[in-house]
């Protein structure tokens, strides 16, 4: 367990160094002077110089890199140009909507896919279960930005059931928050459930011919008991792995969905930072996402230990 934590910590450092360095240099690829680009062609030279100094753009690129890295190591991600506040504070303000979407959609998709797959496995003849199972390959093909617009067209514009945009905190105003969350969550859940069902189905099929199931049946367990107590826990491992590796995709989807449904989360923040060229904020958000990725994968590793006694022992 300690070895695992140490390895993950090492991964965290490696990934942060690579991602941070990559973003640092990608942003410096911009032709011309970023300070000039931010302030526009009509800016006074003294303002451009001041901004350049405050962005740490004086000196050679290596000096800039070292000074930036030095600040990041001390937890100083710089000051956002548009928000006039420390990047970390701005990120903290926008984290909750994104986390709400990510966690809720993943949890719902997880249980939905387990339910659909095991239903299909227990009663392969049931037409509804089979249709749901087949729909998953269609779900994989849906562009999430397009499905969002279709849902808005049907459920907000035509039927007027749910608002087409907006966000309220689940904690302070649940009555307004839940309807606003329905459509964005549905889009995320559709895509993720499709992926999870395909993953789970494959690992479930791989478990079915194994001998321990015959033992379970011989000792008199019903097909349902075999499925729930023996097959599912074993088939769950690849799905849990998928949860971790899908995280980057999920964040990518959330960025698009937040911009469509006007949810003031990290994706919205990032899109805004991109359009206003707020470089410290872009760097801060991307580094933060990378940290989240490592944390999610650490959780995945820890849950292996819960699910699989073999990992616990070794």
């Amino acid at each position: 367990m300690t070895a695992l934590l140490v390895r993950r910590l090492r991964d965290l450092v490696v990934i942060l160094v690579i991602v941070g360095t990559m973003m640092f240099f990608v942003i410096r690829l911009i032709p011309g002077d970023p300070a000039q680009a931010i302030l526009g062609p009509t800016a006074r030279p003294s303002d451009v110089d001041a901004l350049r100094a405050s962005m740490g753009l004086n000196g050679s690129i290596w000096e800039q890199y070292l000074s930036w890295a030095g600040h990041v190591v001390r937890g100083d991600f710089g000051t956002s140009i548009t928000y006039h506040a420390p990047v970390l504070d701005v990120v903290a303000e926008h984290i909750l909507p994104t986390l709400t979407l990510a966690v809720l959609s993943t949890v719902i998709s997880f249980f939905l896919s387990v339910a659909i797959t095991s239903w299909q496995a227990v009663s392969p003849r049931n037409p509804v279960a089979r249709t749901l199972d087949r729909l998953s390959s269609l779900g994989m093909a849906m562009p999430d930005f397009w499905i969002s617009l279709m849902l808005v067209l049907v459920f907000s514009v035509t039927l007027r059931w749910f608002p087409s945009s907006g966000y309220h905190s689940l904690l302070s105003d649940p009555a307004a928050a839940v309807p606003a969350l329905v459509l964005p969550l549905t889009v995320l859940v559709l895509g993720q459930t499709a992926l999870f069902v395909l993953t789970l189905r494959e690992s479930l099929l791989g478990e079915l011919p194994l001998a321990y199931l015959r033992t379970a049946r011989v000792k008199g367990l019903s097909e349902r008991q075999v499925m729930v107590k023996h097959v599912l826990p074993n088939a769950m491992m690849p799905l849990v792995t998928q949860l971790g590796s899908n995280f980057a995709m999920l964040v990518g989807g959330i960025v698009i969905i937040e911009s469509i449904f006007v949810v003031p989360g990290l994706g919205h923040l990032l899109m805004g930072a991109v359009s206003t060229r707020d470089f410290p904020l872009i760097q801060g958000v991307t580094l933060f996402v990378a940290v989240l990725f490592v944390v999610v994968n650490l959780l995945v590793d820890l849950s292996y230990a819960l699910l699989d006694p073999k990992v616990r022992v070794s």
Partner: protein, 302 residues
């Protein structure tokens, strides 16, 4: 007598053999044919349609009709013509991205699987790379290099490379431990030559499957990129930017959004089908699982 029976069992007529081959790969044949049809349409049909840039202020936002099969957009341009022409950009760019990502991923996967020293460094890099939400990297590149077809090509190639590299690497690891590789080394063959002559051809089928799966993903990300205004810019139509342009008229002219969306979905769906049936043909584990699934369904039905 028994010989004759055995012979008839062993050698079904050519017709029956073809029928069985088709039945086993029905999905593959049908979905490839349909995708071929889409590609053909995109290549040939623009010759017979009005120009994509002909604006007609009088006939704005017309619903689908005989004159304009998919209606017209806010500038009075024919949506069908734009859809077909946009297909050239969307399909072409996705194919290009896929080829580039598959080529770079192939090289990295081969080297990383075959040279243990390079493996540790390369795979750690790939992990970091994959931890990064694709769209964010693409956005960063698009603002720093300016949104263009080349930026998108670079960004998406960079994004998809590690996925191919990982799959190829794991196959190379399996091949590298085979006896014939050892035999080749004992016979004095140099390592680069072994990699080229013995490992590469064995990885090729899997790489092909990977290309198809990748192209489906590339189409989706490409659509999202041009939807967000980070890909090919209007007035050149792509399916993604057509959806983005139609978004403002979602209520009054929903066909502007529906047509390109359904087209993207159809293409991605077909590519996924081709990919999974090719995988069944190439990958033994996938084939076993597929046979098992069919068996279960058949048993349940009887």
């Amino acid at each position: 007598m028994s010989m004759a029976v055995a012979a008839s069992v062993r050698e079904p007529s050519a017709q029956r053999r073809a029928a069985r081959l088709f039945r086993r790969n029905r999905t593959l044949v049908v979905s490839s044919a349909l995708l071929g049809l889409v590609v053909l349409t995109v290549l040939v049909l623009p010759l017979f349609l009005p120009s994509v840039s002909t604006t007609d202020p009088v006939h704005r936002l017309l619903p689908p009709s005989g004159a304009h099969l998919l209606g017209t957009d806010s500038y009075g341009r024919d949506v069908l013509a734009r859809l077909v022409s946009g297909g050239r950009a969307s399909l072409g760019l996705s194919a290009l991205i896929t080829l580039c990502a598959a080529a770079t991923g192939m090289v990295i996967g081969l080297v990383s699987g075959f040279y243990r020293a390079a493996d540790a460094v390369l795979m750690r890099l790939m992990d970091a790379w994959m931890s990064f939400p694709a769209i964010i990297l693409a956005m960063a590149l698009a603002i720093s290099l300016g949104a263009s077809i080349w930026t998108e090509l670079i960004a998406l190639t960079v994004i998809f490379t590690p996925f191919t590299a990982r799959v190829i690497r794991s196959r190379v690891l399996g091949i590298a431990s085979r006896d014939y590789i050892g035999a080749a080394r004992v016979s004095g063959m140099s390592r680069p030559k072994i990699l080229l002559v013995h490992v590469f051809p064995n990885v090729l089928p899997l790489a092909l499957v990977q290309v198809v799966i990748l192209s489906a993903a590339a189409m989706l990300v490409d659509g999202a990129m041009s939807f967000l205004g980070l890909g090919i810019a209007p007035p050149t139509p792509t399916w993604g930017n057509m959806i983005a342009e139609g978004r403002s008229y979602l209520v009054t002219a929903p066909w502007l959004v529906i047509a390109p969306g359904v087209t993207i979905m159809l293409c991605v769906f077909l590519l996924n089908l081709i990919g999974s049936s090719l995988r069944i043909a190439v990958d033994a584990r996938a084939r076993t699982l597929n046979d098992l699934r069919r068996l279960r369904v058949r048993r349940a039905q009887s």
